[in-house]
Amino acid sequence: MGGDVKKFMYVNRKAPYGTIYALESLEVVLIGAAFEQDVSVVFIDDGVFEIVKGQDTAGIEMKNFSNTYKALEMYDVEKLYVSKDSLEERGLTEDDLIVDVELKTAAELTALMEEQDVLLSF
C-alpha cells in the first residue's frame, strides 16, 4: 500500500444480535487489520452490548461471536474506546466488558472522530 497510513475509526452503534451490522463490522475490522492502518474502534449506544461478558445466544440460535473481540489485540487493534455515557445509561461498568477499553466522554469521542481520515459507522 506504499506506506500510506490513514487513521481509520470503526464506530459500532448497534446491539450484537437483532441485526447483522455488529458481526459484519467485526469482519471489516479483522480484514482491515492486514492493511496496517492506524485503527481505532468505538462502541457507542447499544454497540456497548457487543462487548458485554457472558453472552448466551443459545436461545436465539445465533452464533455467539463475542470472543472474537478478544482476538483484536492479536491483530494489533488495540485502541478500543467506549462511550462512558452509553455504558452508564445501560447500567454497565468496565468490569462487565470482555475486553480492556478506554472510557471516553462524548466530547472526547467527538475530538477523536475529528482526527480521523476514514470513519466507518455500523
Binding site: M1, D4, K6, F8, I20, Y21, E24, E27, V28, I31, G32, A34, F35, Q37, D117, V118, L119, L120, S121
Partner: protein, 130 residues
C-alpha cells in the same frame, strides 16, 4: 475529489442505494472521481439482475449497471456478505456448488479489502445506510 462510496442497505426497502446513486451521479457530473462503490450488508442485494420492479418504478439495479458502463465505475460486492444473501457470479456459483448465478452487469464480487483500500486511496469514504 476522489470518492469511495459504501452502500449498506438493500434496494427498495431503504433509500440508501437511491441516495448513493444520486450522489455518485451528481459527483461525476461535477467532475469528481468515483474510485469505487462498495456494496456491503444488505447492500449486496443491489447486485442481482433478477430484480423486477413494477414498470412504472425505477430499476435500482439497472441504474447502477448503466452508470457503471457510462463512467467505467468499479462496483464491488463483498463476497462474504454476498454468499450469506445468495448473490453469486458464475465463479462463486460453481465454487459453492450452486445451480445459478444472478450478478448484474457491471458488478464484481471481491473481498472487504477493497473497501479498506477504497478508504486509503480516496479523499472521502461516504457511507449510505443506517
Amino acid at each position: 475529489m476522489k470518492f469511495t462510496i459504501q452502500v449498506s442497505e438493500g434496494p427498495y426497502n431503504h433509500q440508501a442505494s437511491d441516495s448513493a446513486y444520486q450522489f455518485a451521479k451528481a459527483a461525476l457530473e461535477k467532475g469528481h472521481e468515483i474510485y469505487r462503490v462498495f456494496f456491503y450488508h444488505d447492500g449486496v442485494n443491489n447486485a442481482t439482475r433478477l430484480t423486477t420492479p413494477p414498470q412504472d418504478d425505477r430499476n435500482v439495479v439497472n441504474r447502477w449497471s448503466a452508470l457503471a458502463e457510462e463512467h467505467n465505475l468499479d462496483l464491488v460486492v463483498c463476497v462474504a456478505a454476498a454468499q450469506r444473501r445468495g448473490i453469486a457470479d458464475a465463479d462463486e456459483s460453481k465454487r459453492n456448488g450452486k445451480d445459478a448465478d444472478n450478478i448484474a452487469p457491471g458488478f464484481r464480487i471481491s473481498g472487504l479489502g477493497q473497501l479498506i483500500e477504497g478508504g486509503i486511496q480516496s479523499d472521502r469514504l461516504v457511507i449510505f445506510g443506517d
